[in-house]
Symmetry: C2
Subunit: 324 residues, 2 copies
């Protein structure tokens, strides 16, 4: 991070399928001001960029305008760091290849870098969070899907095409659950929030034991409900977390054989289920990892402040952006 006193701020923006959140961030990782728009409301990407700029420009004015901004970092699904484009993102309203970094650069006059949301989270964690000082770590984001950002030798791994680090789509069971990507048994079909809900529905059908989860209509069950039931000691809910943790920990053991990271950092709602999920993950990781790695890889929770995490993560990229 290079801090230039004439440009002491960065802008972070996180594009989600539902909301786009953006804010002005200082070098200590304080989100000084933020706002949002509804992503799905703009079928046309130009209208979307207009809407964001209309709300972002007044925020910038509070801190001296665009000339005080070192750079803007954008985290977006299917974001390509090399080209600054969003490419064929299934959950966004704009189809094909969208040159979003260039569009914002043109409107705002701020150098802009873009990457996928999990990579942004990894850079955020390295700049402000649990990965400060780490040169080799893997960030796993457990949300609606499962994403990942891999850091090796202190550098984010983008791969030759900008799309490295799709660990949510590592196949853990070739005969397993149908994934949205068209294949079967991807990690994300088990360890995302939707995967946990799916496990709950499967367990409720396959077993006859009583559970608090039976009070909820099957198709409405969410991972939060599983957590609430687990807190009340519900045995089936605890087993759902154990199953999920085992699948994730076993997959993590394979990831360790790839890059031998000092730490794996978990981020997102599911990671906040505490020991219910962390203990089974840790257990499966240690049991399944190759001997030479045993006891070496730390399992950590993200330290990014919850409400700000998405904006913070993306903003960290703003410090590294090249001025054009």
């Amino acid at each position: 991070m290079t801090i230039n006193m004439e440009k002491p701020y960065v802008v972070g923006m996180d594009i989600g399928g539902t909301n786009t959140v953006f804010g002005v961030v200082d070098s200590r990782g304080n989100v000084l001001a933020s706002d949002s728009v509804k992503t799905q409301q703009y079928a046309e990407v130009n209208e979307y960029v207009d809407a964001v700029c209309k709300k972002l420009l007044p925020l910038l004015q509070q801190f001296g305008g665009a000339e005080k901004i070192k750079g803007m970092g954008v985290g977006a699904p299917n974001g390509n760091y090399y080209s600054g484009t969003i490419e064929f993102a299934p959950n966004l309203p704009w189809k094909g290849v969208i040159p979003l970094a260039a569009m914002f650069e043109e409107r705002l006059g701020i150098p802009t870098a873009l990457t996928n949301d999990a990579n942004a989270a990894a850079i955020g964690e390295m700049t402000y969070g649990a990965a400060r000082g780490l040169k080799d770590f893997i960030m796993i984001t457990l949300g609606t899907g499962v994403g990942s950002g891999i850091v090796i030798n202190g550098q984010l791994v983008y791969g030759h095409d900008g799309f490295a680090g799709e660990l949510g789509h590592v196949v853990v069971d070739p005969a397993g659950r149908q994934c949205g990507c068209g294949r079967k048994g991807c990690l994300e079909t088990y360890c995302s929030a939707t995967g946990v809900a799916r496990t709950a529905r499967e367990f409720l059908v396959a077993r006859s034991e009583p559970s608090l989860l039976r009070n909820i209509p099957s198709e409405e069950i969410q991972s939060k409900d599983v957590y609430d039931a687990a807190v009340k000691g519900d045995k089936l809910a605890l087993e759902i977390f154990e199953f999920t943790g085992k699948v994730l920990g076993t997959a993590l053991a394979n990831f360790v054989a790839f890059s031998s990271p000092e730490a794996i950092i978990l981020f997102g709602g599911l990671a906040k289920s505490g020991d219910y999920i962390m203990k089974p993950i840790q257990k499966a990781l240690e049991e399944n990892v190759l001997n030479i790695y045993k006891g070496k890889t730390k399992l950590l929770l993200s330290q990014l402040k919850d409400a700000d995490a998405a904006v913070l993560g993306a903003s960290a990229l703003g410090w590294e952006v090249r001025e054009s």
Copy 2:
């Protein structure tokens, strides 16, 4: 590679469970002279180092002595690049942690770097072979075991502890074959030369169809026999390659999701079985890879000259060694 005219050569040494081969190499990748010792003959590591030096020093004299050598690179099972040690290598006669780089440095006065054999192969391929100019690739060595060397952003991935890149021990089937590492279903139990022989024995028991392989006593079957039978059109042998290629290609598809390499380079005896194995690997890779990677990752064969490959690969590390 920095070529210093006063030190125009490097030494490469490959330590295998059976043989240790070493040689003097020039900047074009010519192995100018080489020799070997039997690794297993030296129960004590000091005797081993003595025996190597006794044969290596006369080679060096032919080219002006140790002062003409830029560095020495050693490829060894369980080699740790950071510490220059061999650690708990199951197939070598010396137990525990062996500071082999320091031992050679002391005896020869040549700066010495050490890494595992697959990493050495990757550096060799990058310096002299199929990976010249590539910044992101994965080297898979198919020998008695399965090894790997991963290059990202032009740098070899060592991980925080020096042991990254054990892709032969990624678990492809948790209920699968017993592996020498103590776990079950490692890639190496299917795709090494011994894995192919194991598949042959399993297929011969499970099926009743005729096969040339039935002329060989079951416990003596080697992967070379499967190749010879396949060349003669033996259906079962062809199926063995198809099975092996499918397992490997499916695993490679997961590796692509990690680092999105421009190429995967295959090295070793099995890779030389040509289309019998390459076609099923390519097919399984393309079928199983996530959409965004389809058609992007090249599957290549090593271009290192066969007899020299091990020495060449290790020697390439000699160009990068830090003088102490």
